[in-house]
């Protein structure tokens, strides 16, 4: 079944859409959840949470903002981060919607400034470095996982991440960043 068919079923609130979502995209969602939620049982619950949120918020998916895979990735990641925080009881729950949360105006302003600066700095990185950055800081993948998937040694990954961070630190304002 193609992506458009799954989306059409989900938008039509057809239960076959939920089945198709899990049949086709559960491997992707598990892949996103796994590095963030360490416990296998929690991961399956998180998968259910994420699937439910996709079902509930499918109307908010805007193809103009990004691909279906990117949207599903972001939503699943937020669900996983929320579950991880709950498990660690260390923070507030992230919004399950995109854009997320309702921070205070000051927080929002600060966050936006940081994001803009980071986005600008990331734009100056090469494609491979950018993917490496996202794997580490967005997908929260371990060095071992990144190394295995990219055919590199862990040491080589650490070395490249170190250089990326150094570049970003310089571009984000040196030691003050």
């Amino acid at each position: 079944m193609h992506e458009q068919e799954v989306l059409a079923l989900l938008r039509a609130r057809d239960e076959r859409g939920a089945e198709a979502l899990l049949r086709h995209y559960a491997p992707l969602m598990r892949y996103i959840i796994a590095p963030i939620v360490p416990d296998a049982q929690d991961r399956e619950e998180c998968l259910s949470d994420a699937a439910l949120r996709v079902w509930e918020r499918i109307e908010t998916y805007d193809p103009a903002r990004g691909t279906w895979t990117a949207w599903l990735t972001a939503l699943t990641r937020n669900a996983a981060l929320n579950r991880a925080r709950k498990q660690g009881s260390s923070g507030e729950e992230l919004s399950s919607e995109l854009p997320s949360a309702e921070p205070t105006p000051e927080e929002r302003l600060l966050q936006q400034e940081r994001r803009q600066a980071l986005l600008s700095a990331l734009g100056r990185l090469g494609q491979k470095e950018r993917v490496l950055f996202y794997r580490k800081y967005y997908y929260r993948q371990s060095t071992a996982q990144i190394a295995a998937e990219l055919g590199m040694t862990e040491r080589a990954v650490e070395g490249r991440l170190y250089r990326i961070k150094k570049t970003l630190r310089e571009q984000l304002g040196g030691d003050e960043a």
């Binding site: 491997p27 892949y31 990117a70 949207w71 800081y137 967005y138 929260r140 590199m152 862990e154 003050e176």
Partner: protein
């Protein structure tokens, strides 16, 4: 801000949505799949241009290794794929090095070489079969739809190619059809790769001790060193040079004096081995012919003749001196021993492989036949002190073959090939090849014996061919060939009319 705080900042400041290219790129599947498919495509492409038919499969074999390596622990089929990819690399990559030696062509066209080619094809087919099974196993594991028909189609395509190769099919029609099918299958496979990404997320690539880049660099370095060693140390024949200090026996010395008296050129005569001198027992007549031949491209000279321009090639240097000698031997029938001597009068710029191919008197001429005994020959040089060193030819063979001309007439031909390498030291590099012949019908009036000297003048070739492997006519980019001939008529009174033939 310390490292941990900076890490936290990066995590919190990461955008809400990953960029599309990143979202597409972050998968455990794509890199491996692209390596496998790219490698498979390159292994199947035969592009006889700039050694691409060697370069592309080499890259393909290495890509297949890189592709299957992270998947080796995914399931049993992928593990077998990985082992087969190693086996294929172990069979194929040494051939790349072997092709950089003068032994490559002979080795790969031998029965063992043919068996190796079939083994590699069989491994490739087995690899595709296991790949197809591995894809199905992966899809089952992830619970997605089981479809891997493209991989199976590739397997069938390879089987068809193998069958066409076995029957030595040379037609264009089926060839184009197969190429078209192959492009469609590859397109389908890459499409499958995209679809497989759904299930591909379920893969867990295995960690590696050597990174892909290190593996590629190591393989490239090993190949480069192997090929360089092949060019440098196995680009010429091993010649068994021995000092020519010993004096010949009394009978040979006597024969030598007789031949000299009959007109055998002295410098050429001095090169004959004792056995070759003894083979001239009963010599009654000597016919000798000398010529200088260029082993260079010469230079063009334009000459104006009225309104027309004549362009001719002028050779300022003629590096090869030929001395062709025929010795008539006693007996009722005409029996001759023919010697084709050559001598380099200039420094040899490149030392690779050389070939003297004789078209003896009985080549395309039924009036003559080979006399008893195998052809003989050797190569010689002088060191700085004037000591003479000699070595037998690396190979001296008689080859018989049948050819059919454009009129449909069939000939049985026999020629003599002497392969050797010139010494890297010394001077006055020279040698000769000899054979005996006798008449068949008692009415022989003409003897023609030609020598074709092929010289390798450059290393720039891959795969490496010897002067004998070079089948082209005229001058190629690596080899240059000159022809010389000894031709004479035997008149009714037994006297000789020598032709001054300049091919």
């Amino acid at each position: 801000m310390n490292e941990r705080e900076f890490d936290a900042l990066l995590e919190s400041a990461a955008p809400e949505l990953p960029p599309d290219d990143v979202a597409r790129e972050v998968t455990p599947w794509r890199r491996a799949m692209e390596n496998i498919l790219g490698g498979s495509a390159m292994c199947a492409i035969t592009l006889n241009l700039l050694a691409m038919n060697y370069l592309l499969p080499t890259i393909g074999v290495i890509l297949q290794l890189l592709g299957f390596r992270p998947l080796r622990r995914e399931n049993g089929w992928f593990r077998v794929c990985w082992l087969l990819a190693i086996l294929r690399a172990a069979l194929f990559l040494p051939c790349i090095v072997l092709n950089a030696t003068i032994y490559g062509t002979a080795a790969l066209s031998s029965p063992a070489g043919t068996a190796l080619t079939y083994a590699m094809l069989a491994v490739q087919m087995l690899l595709f079969f296991c790949f197809w099974r591995a894809l199905r196993a992966t899809q089952r594991k992830s619970g997605t739809e089981v479809r891997a028909g493209s991989a199976a189609a590739l397997l069938v395509w390879y089987a068809a190619v193998l069958a066409l190769a076995y029957v030595q099919y040379n037609g264009l029609l089926l060839g184009f059809a197969m190429l078209g099918c192959y492009i469609l299958i590859l397109r389908s496979l890459f499409h499958l790769s995209r679809e497989m990404e759904e299930s591909g997320y379920a893969l867990t690539p295995a960690p590696v001790r050597l990174s892909d880049s290190v593996l590629v660099k190591t393989a490239a370095a090993l190949l480069a060193v192997g090929v360089a060693c092949g060019y440098l140390f196995f680009g010429s024949y091993r010649m068994d040079w021995q000092s020519e200090g010993g004096a010949v026996g009394a009978e040979a010395a006597e024969l030598c004096a007789e031949l000299l008296a009959l007109g055998y050129p002295e410098t050429a005569l001095a090169d004959l081995s004792e056995d070759d001198l003894l083979a001239c027992r009963g010599a009654t007549l000597v016919v000798a012919h000398e010529a200088d031949k260029p082993m260079n491209g010469g230079r063009e000279v334009r000459e104006e003749f009225g309104s027309s321009t004549h362009i001719k090639t002028v050779y300022d240097v003629k590096e090869l001196h030929f001395t062709d000698v025929a010795v008539r031997l006693s007996g009722e029938a005409e029996r001759w021993r023919v010697f084709h001597h050559f001598r380099w009068t200039e420094e040899v710029k490149f030392r690779g492989t050389e070939l003297v191919r004789l078209w003896p008197a009985y080549y395309e001429n039924d009036s003559w036949r080979p006399d008893d005994g195998a052809p003989t020959g050797r190569v010689l040089y002088d060191d700085a002190e004037g000591n003479v060193y000699a070595a037998p030819c690396a190979s001296l063979t008689v080859e018989r073959y049948t050819v059919t001309n454009w009129l449909g007439w069939t000939y049985h031909l026999e020629d003599i090939s002497a392969e050797f390498s010139l010494p890297s030291r010394g001077k006055n590099r020279r040698g000769y090849v000899a054979y005996s012949t006798e008449e068949t019908d008692g009415e022989t009036t003409f003897l023609a014996s030609r020598s074709n000297y092929t010289h390798q003048e450059s290393r720039l070739q891959y795969p490496v061919r010897t002067a004998k492997d070079y089948s082209g006519w005229g001058d190629g980019p690596v080899f240059r060939r000159v022809q010389n001939a000894l031709q004479f008529s035997i008149l009714d009174d037994g006297s000789i009319d020598l032709w001054n033939y300049e091919p």
